[in-house]
């Protein structure tokens, strides 16, 4: 047990319920990201809802890659990217590559950003969201051999920047409570 190696001491016996609890806490980031993406497509009927799906995917991948990289491993990120491609009608591979890039950037900045406050992380996220939107636009243009209008991706980047607290605050609450494997 890796956990008992790190923290020697007395701990409760591993019953079935506790095992399930631990598995759930490890699976929480991936599962909730996929569920949030599916829910973001429900027709609420407000304008510009199409940009909600990439926003949710980007925020979830960024947040968990930064704060719980063990639970947001590259294969999980890839899966989220493929779902983004399929549900968001992007050329296949675009979502996967942009999400993996986000993950890679978050991994690189992890050591610096984990010591910073919420506002700094948010600011860096805005920069990343703009970069990812530009990358998304360039890839779609390249793969469809046409210059797609840039307005939707600009809107998407703006929405991601504006919605970050709305997604990240509940996620960070969950991160410290129901999704924390050390509390199992």
């Amino acid at each position: 047990m890796a956990l008992s190696d790190r923290f020697p001491g007395v701990r409760p016996q591993l019953t079935v319920g506790r095992r399930l609890d631990i598995v759930w806490r490890h699976a929480f980031p991936g599962t909730t990201s996929l569920l949030l993406m599916l829910l973001s497509l429900t027709p609420f009927g407000f304008w510009g809802q199409a940009a909600l799906l990439p926003t949710v995917a980007l925020t979830c991948v960024w947040f968990w890659s930064l704060f719980r990289p063990a639970a947001m491993a590259p294969p999980v990120v890839f899966l989220i990217g493929v779902l983004l491609d399929l549900l968001g009608y992007l050329p296949p591979g675009v979502g996967a590559l942009t999400m993996l890039t986000t993950h890679g950037i978050a991994q690189r900045l992890r050591r610096i950003l984990s010591r910073q406050g919420f506002a700094v992380v948010w600011l860096i996220f805005i920069t990343v969201a703009c970069g990812i939107a530009a990358m998304n636009w360039a890839l779609v243009s390249l793969l469809t051999f046409s210059l797609v209008p840039p307005a939707p991706v600009l809107f998407q980047a703006g929405l991601a920047a504006a919605m970050y607290p709305a997604v990240a605050i509940p996620l960070s609450l969950a991160h410290r409570s129901i999704a924390d494997p050390d509390q199992a």
Partner: protein, 286 residues
């Protein structure tokens, strides 16, 4: 179980990201080579997730209805006066319409007019936005054995919505007339001249290729044309509005932003395949 050494595990962990990036590039290649496979994967994905949306749309609909009711109570008096006015106006129009209809029937009888075949239709609920960022489309939830086909025409209670581009076992995708890839042959109603309605992904599609000398007029009604055998003639599409740059655009009659229930008509047309499908239809489907 053989446990790899810590160094080996670290090396493996560092390798997964590059491997996944290569896989993403592989996916792009597959997407370019086999479009049918991608389309099937999408349809399967939507078929699997449609029940979630269908289950959610019921309480969501009730919630928005409740909100609308509260807002409605607010402006009850003003709304009532407006409706009384409108009702009076509509009653006048109704008498005009009835007279014209009777006259039309008499003239048709005198000419021995062969009536157009009645179109059959099915009604379906819009359960999700299926356009993504670069397209305008909606997902319909339909029962099994629905008999829908690509190219069939979707209308809401006011006007043309779009055409079916993909059909799954429980879902169908409708490409809206506002989508960038949508082209609809239309007729300007007062001058009877032809034009093409081209989607821009914005809320108002644009008019293109009208004949010289018959410039679309502000407020003119636009209906579909039977040219190219893709649409039946005279379905209501919208009204002409000039934008700030002097480009004629069309305000769609259909409420494309708040689609709830659409009717799918089978006019038995076999002209053009719906957009996006033209390249693939030659490859055949399973």
């Amino acid at each position: 179980m053989i446990r790899p050494s810590i160094q080996a595990r670290h090396a493996l962990a560092r390798l997964t990201l590059p491997v996944m990036v290569v896989a993403a590039f592989g996916l792009m290649l597959v997407g370019k080579v086999d479009t049918v496979l991608v389309e099937r994967a999408r349809v399967t994905m939507y078929d699997a997730s449609a029940p979630i949306y269908a289950a959610l749309s019921e309480p969501l609909g009730q919630m928005s209805k409740a909100v609308a009711e509260v807002i409605g109570l607010w402006g009850l008096r003003v709304e009532n006066a407006r409706l009384r006015d409108e009702n009076e106006r509509l009653r006048r129009w109704q008498s005009v319409a009835l007279t014209l209809d009777a006259e039309n029937q008499r003239l048709k009888a005198a000419l021995r007019w062969v009536p157009d075949p009645e179109a059959s239709y099915v009604t379906a609920r819009v359960v999700a936005d299926a356009g993504g960022v670069y397209a305008k489309a909606v997902l319909l939830s339909v029962g099994p054995n629905h008999g829908l086909r690509k190219g069939q025409i979707a209308l809401d209670e006011r006007g043309l919505v779009g055409r079916i581009t993909e059909v799954g076992s429980r879902t169908a995708r409708v490409l809206l007339i506002t989508d960038m890839n949508s082209r609809v042959p239309v007729i300007l109603e007062s001058s009877r001249s032809h034009a093409i309605l081209a989607g821009t992904n914005g809320p108002r599609p644009r008019l293109l290729y009208w004949s010289e000398g018959t410039v679309p007029k502000e407020g003119e009604r636009i209906v579909t044309s039977a040219e190219a055998n893709a649409f039946p003639a005279n379905l209501p599409v919208g009204t002409v509005r000039y934008n700030a740059n002097g480009v004629p655009e069309v305000e769609p009659d259909a409420q494309l932003r708040a689609l709830d229930i659409v009717r799918i008509f089978d006019y038995g047309l076999n002209g053009f395949a719906a957009p996006e499908v033209t390249a693939r239809s030659t490859q055949g489907r399973h």
